[in-house]
Symmetry: D2
């Protein structure tokens, strides 16, 4: 997939529509969208999500915990899949690999996902996570989503 | 590493000692140990941890969310490292790969970790996650921890 | 999947039948089976394969090269899939993660694969690789195969 | 790591110097460089390597085998590490994850590696593999190299 081309293409679900559907159908997501996550941008096959900083996400050593980053990556990749396929809420992660690269700072995290492949049954993508305002990667993720057949 | 031999060996930190240190040094962990996790068994290079079921961990489709399983695996592997190395709280995950294998039931998850390799700088292990009372795997994880040099 | 139970079950394709099909349909495999690999045992959802030692597989430092181990793992997992599904030669790897754990000795490698999950579309398994006669792992692999729909 | 900046920086070892060292110290590599691989470009923290097409690399279905791609990725990432660290031939892969994305065509493969992180002990990078002349990815790899301490 040429990411350059795809970034230009309109998403199957706009940012606004995506937020609306998540809030309508998932009460938990609705809460998380208000307090933890902000969906900043959505394009075809990709998106950018901000994870808001909370003191409670800190782990020993003053750094943001690994599971917070894994959850952020998983969510961001999920939205990237929806942006390219449309509303298939039951898409599930089959595989996720994360490399932790740098201690994140005690501030917001920015995750940017893009699909590497979009097949009929599987979508594979990568997510780059950075601390807000820093160009270094704090984590890099690749993951696979299984796409259910639409009824 | 012969897991058979190692399961026999006494851990560097007993279950009781490990729980005490976690509670004393990590207020968050202290809370999580009471409400989310129960450390059931600790041996040299391995351990078993129960993730208590909560309604709020459910994701669309009635299943436990991926990040909950990732967090459980990461924590369980962390304890397995401590059980073999001793108290090195600043050990950090460098890499984690998870395969989601089966929709978990709406009940407790049981994670069992064991180290595949224990080096001076890196420890590599695997974690098997099952729904309580079911022998099928719901997820399988391999991960690497970087071990800081003790002062 | 309870590996204990499955080890008891008869494979869909016996070791002898599997070797025959590989030799009949894949000239390359036929060569490799004679000179590089020996399929030692096949059961339902698993198998054991020996990679014969050759001087040319050595890499700097006197160790067997990573790609040799990756190729061995991929082949062994492929056979484990066929042992459980039957003859689906066009099954393809979608994902493979390898952790290198110990410098292999300059002798044969023994790989043992077992399926962790067998679904209709995806099979996930793990492979343990050891030097012949040593119980330590030299590498650990998890991988996913996509199973084509039979015509 | 800002890849943009790093691509500008001169490598610790030029392409020419790297080829010379590989040929002088590794007879196997010397052979492979002539017949299988062509190192096309080297920059600080990255490189581009061509895998020459051979009929014998084909697997059932007329596609290039997975192990050929894994070997290519591993080699390319190895060179990316050397380009940033200098001549540390005993750097070893500790972990490699590959996602197979598209059936490669029956022609040369082009692999491009770039480091995501360069630490004192570990280097993490990714490799994009494409069929020559096609912008789609056929495989995506992330891997970690352990860097030995220089004497």
């Amino acid at each position: 997939m040429s990411s350059t081309t795809k970034k230009m293409a309109a998403p199957k679900l706009s940012r606004k529509k995506l937020i609306g559907l998540l809030q309508a159908e998932f009460p938990q997501a609705s809460h998380a969208l208000g307090s933890n996550y902000a969906i900043e941008k959505v394009w075809h096959g990709g998106c950018r999500v901000r994870r808001l900083f909370h003191q409670r996400a800190l782990r020993p050593g003053g750094t943001i915990s690994g599971p917070v980053m894994m959850g952020l990556a998983d969510f961001t990749l999920y939205l990237a899949v929806l942006s390219a396929v449309g509303w298939v809420p039951l898409a599930v992660t089959t595989n996720l690999t994360i490399n932790f690269l740098k201690k994140p700072a005690a501030r917001d995290l920015i995750a940017e996902a893009r699909l590497l492949k979009l097949g009929k049954r599987l979508a594979v993508g990568e997510v780059a996570i950075r601390s807000d305002g820093d160009s270094d990667l704090v984590a890099h993720v690749t993951g696979t989503y299984s796409i259910p057949i639409k009824a």
